[in-house]
């Protein structure tokens, strides 16, 4: 095993290419990171009724998110206890059991092994099926509709894992009007393969404001909700730009803080109904959230591989590792559950033209991650680490603006326009996970 201390040096702004392309490091990541961390599974609105299920993924492994007959949520390893066959190859559905198509063992929606062909004769009376239910995650949390799970019983509770990042994750999951929760998933999950290591998109979403040149073509063409650019920039351009990182947790987000005394910038100008909806929401948000109404989010990464995008398009992407050189992306799109149909439809169209493999914006990201990865695999390339020195030493844990204090290690990049503070936080935590013997070393 390579010495990670020499490979990952966020304190001075260096990360070796080895951690993106090395097979042995990738294998260790599966044990050290993905078998321990809280991972995003799905959304409660995808499994509303007893018996509803969707398949999902934790690291490389297929899992089933299922609501049992009593309405309780479970996450199971999608693999029969007898010979390992996937017990579910449907992407979603409603069922009373999961029957393995290999030898016919079947499992109830609570995971219990309920059917074993010829059990009495073939296995005899001492066979105890109680220990042979579907393998279930050690901990599961339904946080404002978002379902998370971990295989590690010694991992901290979900809310401790999220820590101070809760304030920023809430920007994704709460109603735009500031109500707790109240978001739902638009039907369908974008799923596609990118030929790059999973950490390329994870660190990009963690806080890369520097890649404007990637997206200049879509800015020229204009797909934003006011008909220009790729986004509505008015609100953003009045705001303080904050790179928010929690290096001790690994989470981060690009955030914006509006001035305490300025009116709202016009937005969503290409549709009067949508503009009116967001204006109304913002007013209610001011009532509900006090000074915190001024805070709004952007792309982020919740360690290790779930990336909220807490503005519009409002999405949650998960970067599933598929070997060191490939990532399978699963992307869901969120809207306020009680938004008017015309608002949901407007946003749905905007999400599709912006995001994912067909999105005018993100197509160019995939090209860059693809060939950055490819050009980093050679023995010569691997000798030259990536540089993450931008804005070293400029972040503070004591951020305050007109009496509003925000949690996190925060770099104000309003004038610098970018830093790599969030990426350094991500790799600081990644190194801890890779070196820790257990969760005892991580809390």
């Amino acid at each position: 095993m390579a010495d990670l201390d020499g490979l990952v040096d966020p304190e001075r702004g260096w990360v070796s290419r080895e951690i993106f392309v090395n097979e042995e490091i990738y294998r260790r990541e599966q044990e050290q990171v993905f078998a321990r961390a809280w991972l995003f599974i799905g959304h409660a609105s995808q499994v509303p009724k007893p018996g509803d299920f969707i398949v999902s993924s934790m690291g490389e492994e297929s899992v089933i998110l299922c609501r049992d007959r009593q309405g309780r949520l479970h996450v199971f390893l999608n693999s029969c206890r007898h010979r390992g066959m996937k017990v579910c190859r449907y992407d979603e559905g409603n069922t009373v059991e999961f029957m393995c198509p290999y030898h016919g063992w079947s499992y109830a929606t609570d995971g219990a092994l309920v059917g074993v062909p010829f059990a009495k004769d073939a296995y005899g009376p001492s066979f105890d099926r109680r220990d042979l239910g579907l393998v279930e995650v050690a901990q599961l949390e339904n946080y404002k509709g978002a379902i998370w799970a971990t295989w590690d019983a010694s991992a901290p509770r979900f809310l401790d894992y999220v820590g101070g990042y809760k304030l920023y994750l809430d920007l994704l999951l709460d109603g735009w009007d500031g109500r707790d929760g109240g978001t739902e998933v638009i039907g369908g999950i974008h799923k596609w393969l990118i030929p790059c290591n999973w950490k390329f998109p994870a660190e990009n979403f963690s806080g890369d404001r520097y890649h404007g040149v990637s997206h200049r073509s879509v800015d020229m063409v204009g797909i934003g909700p006011s008909g220009q650019g790729r986004r509505d920039m008015g609100e953003r351009n009045q705001a303080r730009w904050l790179d928010v990182s929690f290096p001790e947790l690994g989470h981060s987000m690009i955030a914006f803080l509006r001035p305490h005394d300025a009116p709202l910038a016009p937005s969503y100008q290409s549709s009067p109904e949508v503009a009116d909806y967001f204006r109304r929401c913002e007013e209610e948000r001011q009532q509900r959230r006090g000074e915190h109404w001024r805070l709004f989010g952007g792309p982020g990464t919740m360690f290790p591989n779930a990336s909220p995008l807490a503005r519009q398009p409002r999405t949650l992407a998960v970067w599933h590792p598929r070997g060191p050189h490939q990532t399978e992306v699963w992307r869901i799109y969120l809207v306020d559950a009680d938004a008017p149909p015309e608002v949901k439809d407007f946003l749905r169209h905007y999400y599709i033209r912006y995001s994912g493999p067909s999105g005018l914006t993100e197509q160019d990201d995939m090209e860059n991650w693809n060939y950055a990865h490819k050009a980093s695999r050679g023995v010569i390339a691997r000798q030259y680490p990536y540089n993450y020195a931008m804005g070293l030493g400029r972040a503070t844990r004591e951020f305050e603006d007109h009496g509003l204090r925000l949690p996190g290690t925060i770099a104000d990049v309003t004038s610098a326009t970018a830093s790599e503070s969030n990426q350094r936080g991500f790799y600081t935590r990644w190194r801890q996970f890779m070196q820790a013997a257990s969760w005892k070393d991580l809390v």
Binding site: I186, G188, P195, R216, S217, R348, P357, L360, E367, N370
Partner: protein, 173 residues
């Protein structure tokens, strides 16, 4: 559609239309390609799920309600073409080598004003050095007669993949 002479002429006209469309795309004559669409055209490509055989209604994401690979009109298609022309759309710069094969053309219905047509596509994309994608599926088009010629008023594209194996969809179907 009966196999009378009128039917054969319609089939011939539609085949030529679809082959010419493929030619425009492969020659990167995108502005001329856009002219083949009516102003109110709909361009839709759903995602597909693995579902039990007796629940086919779950297989496709729904037009007008769910997320899709494409669900847009001529305005967004036009912006895609303009993006390809910027010269800094890195996902297609340098440009890909793309070949559209169209086959199995079937006339579903035809009147004086509209023709429904189904076809198969095989799109080969090769770019940079060895990067290669092969996308295969079906299309269903509603063609409309406009000033004596044909235009595409609605196109539904059904790709025969669930997890998209291409990293992006920077080309047209």
């Amino acid at each position: 559609m009966s196999l009378d002479l009128a039917g054969l002429l319609v089939l011939h006209e539609v085949q030529n239309f679809l082959y010419r469309e493929a030619e425009l795309l492969d020659e990167r004559r995108y502005e001329a390609w856009l002219e083949l669409f009516t102003d109110d055209a709909q361009y839709f490509m759903p995602m597909r799920r693995n579902v039990p055989h007796d629940e086919p209604e779950r297989e496709f994401t729904r037009a007008g309600a769910d997320v899709a690979w494409f669900d847009e009109g001529k305005d967004t298609l036009t912006r895609r073409v303009r993006q390809l022309r910027t010269g800094i759309h890195w996902a297609e710069e340098p440009v890909s080598r793309i070949c559209h094969m169209v086959s199995n053309v079937q006339i579903l219905h035809a009147s004086d004003t509209e023709i429904g047509v189904k076809s198969r596509f095989l799109i080969y994309r090769n770019r940079v050095e060895t990067e290669t994608d092969l996308l295969v599926g079906k299309r269903e088009d509603l063609l409309r007669r406009v000033n004596g010629g044909l235009k595409i008023a609605r196109r539904t594209i059904v790709l025969d993949q669930s997890v998209l194996l291409a990293k992006n969809l920077t080309f047209f179907f």
